[in-house]
């Protein structure tokens, strides 16, 4: 049983996908290795070493820390991902997104901040260099 190490491990090599079914409801922090698919409701922070998916109909109220995140349901909270964050058209998100790459599908309801690390071309930067 490989404990997910802190390093970025391949998402294939997971300790399994956990599913929080539609009728399920969790109040409190969720932590784990492997992937997590949320079809139900979580009220609390979620930290997984693998990929997190909030399905259409699922909801998370809390901050998320995962390798990658796909949001098709509702999220109120911030996201910190080491990899991509994908927000689907069915999503309703309120929070700040930080990830290697954040994509948003038209139709999604979104309110919050997206922070990607990059530099604008020199001609457009003013005083601060956008660090």
């Amino acid at each position: 049983m490989a404990r997910g190490s802190a390093a970025r491990t391949s998402t294939q090599q997971t300790t399994g996908t956990s599913v929080l079914g539609k009728g399920a409801r969790v109040r409190g922090r969720v932590q784990g290795s492997g992937d997590l698919r949320v079809e139900g409701q979580i009220e609390g922070d979620v930290t997984v070493t693998g990929d997190l998916a909030i399905e259409d109909g699922g909801a998370v109220k809390g901050d998320i820390d995962a390798a990658s995140v796909v949001i098709g349901g509702a999220l109120t909270g911030d996201v910190a991902a080491r990899g991509p964050v994908s927000i689907r058209a069915t999503a309703q998100v309120s929070g700040n997104m930080g990830g290697a790459e954040v994509s948003l599908e038209e139709g999604a309801v979104f309110s919050g901040r997206i922070e990607a690390e990059f530099e604008l071309p020199a001609e457009l930067t003013t005083r601060h260099k956008g660090r």
Partner: protein, 185 residues
């Protein structure tokens, strides 16, 4: 012939650009851009300005807020530091953004077009219902300006937008994402 204007790659505009029709920017603009049609910011474009149009497609670099009446789409290659505001917002993989994003009408952050913003803000704010004032015909009374106006029934914004979609409860001050990143712009 389609009413498309182009600011070519070798062109720099320092000032305001506004008007109807579509606009395709491949060059540089510093100032403001407000057009009624579709605005395309090409790959080679460098925009230091808020921009606003009915629809906006971004493939280049923008330092400024991007807002639209219909949709804002950041295609792969887009680099934007600024807020996005439109009912429909798309950010394709490969597009880079640093800023607030709001799909809500009259939402936070985006420097929305003055006219559109005013209209939508007014529609969004809960408005006292127009009471059908008994049209007491008091011609030429002194205090009449008001009576006359209400008698005629002030018109709600002809094209008042639909009320905004139900809002997911307010931002959580988690800031976990922010802490992980090396501080905002």
């Amino acid at each position: 012939m389609a009413n498309v204007s182009t600011i070519g790659r070798g062109t720099v505009v320092r000032g305001s650009v506004r008007g109807d029709g579509d606009l395709d920017i491949q060059g540089r603009v510093e100032g403001s851009v407000v057009v009624e049609g579709e605005l395309t910011i090409g790959e080679s474009a460098l925009i230091k300005s808020d921009v606003s149009a009915r629809r906006v497609v971004v493939r280049g670099a923008v330092a400024g807020n991007v807002s639209a009446d219909e949709s804002v789409v950041l295609e792969s290659g887009a680099r934007v530091v600024g807020d996005l505001g439109a009912p429909q917002i798309g950010i394709r993989p490969g597009a880079l953004l640093r800023g607030n994003v709001s799909t809500q009408v009259g939402g936070q952050g985006a420097g929305a077009r003055p006219r559109a913003a005013a209209a939508t803000a007014r529609a969004a704010r809960p408005k006292p219902v127009e009471r059908p004032v008994a049209a007491a015909p008091k011609p030429a009374a002194k205090t009449d300006g008001l009576a006359a106006k209400t008698a005629n029934g002030p018109r709600v914004e002809g094209n008042a937008r639909k009320p905004p979609p139900p809002v997911v409860p307010s931002l959580k001050r988690g800031a976990k994402g922010a802490l992980k990143r090396k501080g905002a712009r």
